[in-house]
Symmetry: C3
Amino acid sequence: MLEADFQYIIDTFFTLFSMVLIIFMVPGFAMLEAGLVRTKNVSSVLTVNMMIYAVASMVFLLIGYSIAFGSWENSSMSIWAAFLFQMAFVGKTINIMSGGVSERVRIIPLMIFTVIMGAIIYPLVVNISWGADILDATLLDLNMYDLAGSTVIHSTGGWALLAAILIIGPRRGRYKNGKIKVIPASNIPLVVLGGFLLWIGWFGFNGGSVGSISSVENANTVAKTIMNTNTAGLAGAIIAAVIMYVRYRLLDITMIINSALGGLVAITAAPDLYDMYTPILIGAIGGALVVFAVPMFDKFQFDDPVGALSVHLINGIWGTLAVGIFVKDISILDQFKGIIVVALFVFLSSYTVIYIINKIIPFRADDDVELEGLDVNEVGVEAYPEFKRAI
Amino acid sequence: MLEADFQYIIDTFFTLFSMVLIIFMVPGFAMLEAGLVRTKNVSSVLTVNMMIYAVASMVFLLIGYSIAFGSWENSSMSIWAAFLFQMAFVGKTINIMSGGVSERVRIIPLMIFTVIMGAIIYPLVVNISWGADILDATLLDLNMYDLAGSTVIHSTGGWALLAAILIIGPRRGRYKNGKIKVIPASNIPLVVLGGFLLWIGWFGFNGGSVGSISSVENANTVAKTIMNTNTAGLAGAIIAAVIMYVRYRLLDITMIINSALGGLVAITAAPDLYDMYTPILIGAIGGALVVFAVPMFDKFQFDDPVGALSVHLINGIWGTLAVGIFVKDISILDQFKGIIVVALFVFLSSYTVIYIINKIIPFRADDDVELEGLDVNEVGVEAYPEFKRAI
Amino acid sequence: MLEADFQYIIDTFFTLFSMVLIIFMVPGFAMLEAGLVRTKNVSSVLTVNMMIYAVASMVFLLIGYSIAFGSWENSSMSIWAAFLFQMAFVGKTINIMSGGVSERVRIIPLMIFTVIMGAIIYPLVVNISWGADILDATLLDLNMYDLAGSTVIHSTGGWALLAAILIIGPRRGRYKNGKIKVIPASNIPLVVLGGFLLWIGWFGFNGGSVGSISSVENANTVAKTIMNTNTAGLAGAIIAAVIMYVRYRLLDITMIINSALGGLVAITAAPDLYDMYTPILIGAIGGALVVFAVPMFDKFQFDDPVGALSVHLINGIWGTLAVGIFVKDISILDQFKGIIVVALFVFLSSYTVIYIINKIIPFRADDDVELEGLDVNEVGVEAYPEFKRAI
């Protein structure tokens, strides 16, 4: 057998394996968010997650992939595997955005945004970062190192969310007379299940982003990437537990999960480049950032029921900068430039698109719909109709 | 290394990978059905799912595999991997059947049927479609193309379900004075989780059915098979959302999930043969068929709490016919003949077996048991004992 | 390509695949235990599961792996993959222990024990069984055959649990005037979901323990190992169903799940060595042992809300002995010696460590905390705040 054929076969298989792990993030996000919102909005959140996967993947197939990569060709593995791997990413950016505006966002305008994000905005980010590169040889050409998308996926979703929050506003009654009303998560097992499905998906996300396992060197890089990814998640969880215990003598599991995810976001830019100890530091800082960012965003009255800004935006930025700090040959200026260019492009384009859609079909549910819950009004299906509500 | 050895190793690994994905469909079906039934029947449905996996797999190991394939030999991969892959299929046909008679079926007669279905009926369907082929050189010899079982798995389960519904009848109070009483699903997050586990399992189901990934051509076919499978599911979800919104201004998530599954069933006959756009059409038609079939079966008073007839029977037929319509070298008459032969064999044999068992141990629970719930009476374990019921 | 390179690549990939399956056991244990305890202790159990994974993995990375294996070297696959596979095991022993003292154990002392168990006690067990072997050429040198840890993982966790139960005692009100108060599981779908995630994880656990899939012989061994593993689980489930039905005319799903897990524990010592029928016997005996051990431990007033002693300790012993009984070249005396040496070391060291920690920070929650539930007092997050309690 030709070595090239061997590599083609193994890398196709490996990429399909990675893709399947990433698809576990679809129920992962769905369960995490369904657990974090109130029971009256659970079916709505689940419908949004389902439809984002369906719509974003479909428009990426029809339009987005060509914008990102220019052509449907690949010589190192089956093009269909390469496509599937990239397709598995696209919904994630929109999940990040939709999660943060849960409990007051309407599904139809969100779906219209999903079409534009999945077909154009996200593919353009991929284009200039990993793909065909329309900015090549211009002043804006990016040299950012971002293996699996601390910026390309996570900050991108985060900036879109920030735009959405500015336009849509907080949930009714969340901020009143300068006080923050705590709205507790409704189903903690779902939060934990979702968190672990995301964690497992990350192994495919980051491991698969190496792009090949078919040489001894690449096999080592893939394994190290997965190990470092995991280590950063561990460190994020531990630091959050320590901070929460020192402060409150309580081990808030939702904060621990979000900090683990923060560590995972932070390592995503370069899990392949670090030694085995650096991810502990990067993940711990990432986890701590989540703990401190959550109340900060609340101070700004950026109402984000799932903590997506803290997890994905803050740590997407931190993780991208960290590569410049900890890896010798990576320029922190290049990293910074990448963060800024993507931030400006995504925030401005998302803001514009959301603003225009919002003028035609308001993103925000009416007050009485928000009060009664979106499930009854937008989905027609209550999440737990037989369970008596205590609240 | 010999090329044959390389292929043996890679195909064994790939088949084990595919098998593992299919096993995720066991909790997939369990969660989907547990979410769709009322809380008083949840433990019963879960027990049924668990025991179908245990009993059907065991009798397939002891008896069924030999009936289907004649001998325990395989030269292209480890026979144990080949067996495991086939074993992972067998419970599915019975899951389809058991789900549709939920909330009134007793577990013991269902287990007796499981023994006969897993040991004899299903293996005979495999025999004439994919296996040793006892009909070879007879007039009934099948030339149906059915890569991963639109007919062999899904219609087979569907015909058995139809037989069971005819004998067991609807839930008490479901159809009264010509009116249909809506019985809402009790736990929507479980429905969505189950739906996505099934979806992910389908990648193994269809991808693994290619049988080999160890050449460049096969690697391409596997990747394309998984891509087309996914695309049909996306299209099924989208079309259901559109129909539901146009009709009711509501995005019923249970219908969307079932339509996605309908699209997945429909593509299963030939995901390897289509170009990348045809699955959109096949899946969309499949999804729409579910939306229209659900009320149709209710008109016939075929009470099917999980929509299994619409998802598996209707789309198993549609998917098998679609190959004859869209693929040049496949004869639609051969496809039709396969559908009819399998239908007659499975429906008649299942009806006979269920009829005989039913005379000795009635399938249907007594009225008071049905009213109180099967959990207390058949399992002895309530699903959610601490949660106060609103209904 | 060199054959050694081929093997390095394939075995790295295969080990990463196996590791990912094992990581599914983390949410598997978490969901199983969250479903088995009362709603007031669900967040606590979830936090414990999360933190065990984080803390045990981290200390294994920093300390434990070196104690177990001496050096970070591996020539047959990427060292990072080899590490990840071993790391995926470590938390399991502690999960077994923590599950059995649920509903009254405090998190902080448990975390201190986790550090010592993950950094020292468990790594020493691995050292003398699979690793660098400090007992080599001494009288205590072990010749026990234990492919994937019936003793090394499951009995180890079981002995630590026994030590913990002796020190911590039963839940308040569980044993009163010689009577046993039944405390029902709060969420059966989570129990079943957790059970199946564990089952699927077992394929990676046992299959991956073969250590290589990169020759025809090894590919066969891996496939057979996974097949035999599955068969023992099937037999465990079936025997429990039969016993429960004969005795009570009820199919208690929690007992069925635990018996399936018991069968899986029992086969774990040598799934690679048996023919395809022996696992039926081993798993059936394992499942039956669970059914009879559960009331036996209750007679001793060893309060174990999740049945971990019956599943892991009893079947860890049974499975290790079974190799000596059913495999010709394995000495039952060597198996017995291994069981005893590990038992003495783990029980005595765990008892000592738990005893000392307990003197400084009591493991047991105060009575009023236990009554109100650990969630409010230790986590600060109720699991289901919106659901009205019936009990």
